[in-house]
Structure formats: structure tokens, C-alpha cells
């Protein structure tokens, strides 16, 4: 997890495009400038960044289902819950499941677990748009490869 770069996910540990499901692994860093403010002397991973972790996790699934032909942009979050404090060093597994694919949008349900116990959850709405330029798509494909997503098999 590189918070300052918004690279929330360390690796994809399971991706089943047909079953519309994905799991990712993230380790909360021991140090970050974010913890200097949130909070001094009591570092916590902000809930909004847990949402980002869930949105990115399921976002990779949405992209994989499109064959990396389109980009999911975060458009809405519903029923977000944060059940416990997340602290530096925590290892979290996030899971996402696409529950609906509409015309130009997708909806996913996501959860985060620490040692098997659910710590956060939300429903995410994505607006599906074409990649704004080829360079951006290429950067996404490169990042996908770094996360162990089988880009060659999945991309159009």
C-alpha cells in the first residue's frame, strides 16, 4: 500500500472474471504522512481510504470483465461501514463482487477483512468510460501486470 500514490493494493490474490469476483491483499504501511495528521499520536487508516481500497479492488474486476477496454470511474458509494480501527501494519484482504452490469455503469459489493473478520464494507457504483488516452490505458495495463493480473489473457 503506497498511500501517497493512491496505490492501495499490493497484489490481486484471486480473480474470477466469470464468477465476477476478486480478492486483493493490502498491508497498511508502518509510516505515512497521512498518519501524521490522522491522527497525531494515534495513527488510523482513514475510512475514506478503506473505501478507496474496496473501490480499487472491485475496479480491477470491472476492468478485467471489459477486457481492459474501458475504465471504471468511481461515481457513488452506498452503505459504507467501518467496523473497527485499522492501524499501521494491519494486513487486510479486500473482496469485490460485481452485482450488476448496466449500460455504461457497474455496481459492486465490497468488503475488507482482517484475519477473516469483516472490518469494512460498501456498495460501489462505477461509471464506465473509454480510456481518455492510450498512455493512460498502457499505465493501467502495466499496473495490472505488477498486481499479478493476467493482462494478456484478459485484455482485448
Amino acid at each position: 500500500m503506497r498511500l501517497e500514490y493512491f496505490q492501495m493494493i499490493d497484489r490481486i490474490v484471486a480473480l474470477d472474471v466469470e464468477a465476477r469476483s476478486i480478492r486483493s491483499f493490502c498491508k497498511v504501511p508502518e509510516r505515512s504522512t497521512i498518519f501524521e495528521g490522522h491522527f497525531p499520536g494515534y495513527p488510523l487508516l482513514p475510512g475514506v481510504l478503506q473505501i478507496e481500497c474496496m473501490a480499487q479492488t472491485a475496479g480491477w474486476l470491472v476492468m478485467a470483465r471489459s477486457g481492459f477496454d474501458a475504465m471504471p470511474f468511481l461515481a457513488g458509494v452506498k452503505d459504507a461501514k467501518f467496523r473497527t480501527a485499522v492501524v499501521p501494519g494491519d494486513e487486510i484482504e479486500f473482496e469485490g463482487r460485481v452485482v450488476h452490469e448496466g449500460s455504461g455503469f457497474s455496481v459492486a459489493e465490497c468488503k475488507g477483512r482482517r484475519r477473516g473478520k469483516v472490518i469494512c464494507e460498501t456498495q460501489v457504483l462505477y461509471r464506465i468510460m473509454p480510456f481518455p488516452n492510450p498512455e493512460f490505458r498502457q499505465a493501467i495495463l502495466q499496473r495490472a501486470a505488477e498486481l499479478d493480473v493476467s493482462v494478456k489473457e484478459l485484455s482485448k
Binding site: A75, G76, H100, E101, G102, G104, F105, V107
Partner: protein
């Protein structure tokens, strides 16, 4: 009023917090009810789920942008309800 319209109106009222009595068959979702594109995604999600269809929003938007259709054809609620009925019929065919 059709049963489809009633369901669509209920969805819009609940999703966008618009008084149900203000939603009429001749209402234009965008021009009259001031529903924006993001809220319409929520509505489309609910319509898709309720009727078991997939509203072809991208196709409709393209047709409007290309001047091949007007927004009235798809976003006046009576017309939207008829489009939904067609999609339901096509699914069952």
C-alpha cells in the same frame, strides 16, 4: 397510467427524493424533474433490477448526440415506460 409507469415513478421518488405526486407520465426526467446523469444511473440500476432488463443508456445517449433521437423519446416517463415494456417483451420473445 401503466403499471410500468407506476413502478418507474416509485423508483424515481425513492431514489431522488422527489414527491411521488410530482412525477407524472408527461414529466421529462431531466427537464422537469431535474434528474442529473449520476442520479439517473441509480435509477437505471433500480429499473434494471426491478424489470430484469438492461436499459441501453449508452445507445440512447449516442442517438441523442447524433441527432437521431430526442431526449423526449427516452426521458419523458411515459415514453421511458414504453421503452421498458419493449425491452421486457424482447426479453421474453
Amino acid at each position: 397510467m401503466s403499471a410500468t409507469f407506476d413502478k418507474v415513478a416509485d423508483i424515481i421518488a425513492e431514489t431522488c427524493d422527489i414527491p411521488r405526486e410530482n412525477i407524472k407520465p408527461e414529466s421529462h426526467a431531466i427537464n422537469d424533474l431535474e434528474i442529473d446523469s449520476l442520479d439517473f444511473l441509480d435509477i437505471a440500476f433500480a429499473i434494471d433490477k426491478t424489470f430484469g432488463i438492461k436499459l441501453p443508456l449508452e445507445q440512447w445517449t449516442q442517438e441523442v448526440n447524433d441527432g437521431k433521437a430526442t431526449t423526449d423519446q427516452y426521458f419523458v416517463l411515459n415514453n421511458l415506460s414504453q421503452q421498458i415494456d419493449k425491452l421486457i417483451a424482447a426479453k421474453g420473445a
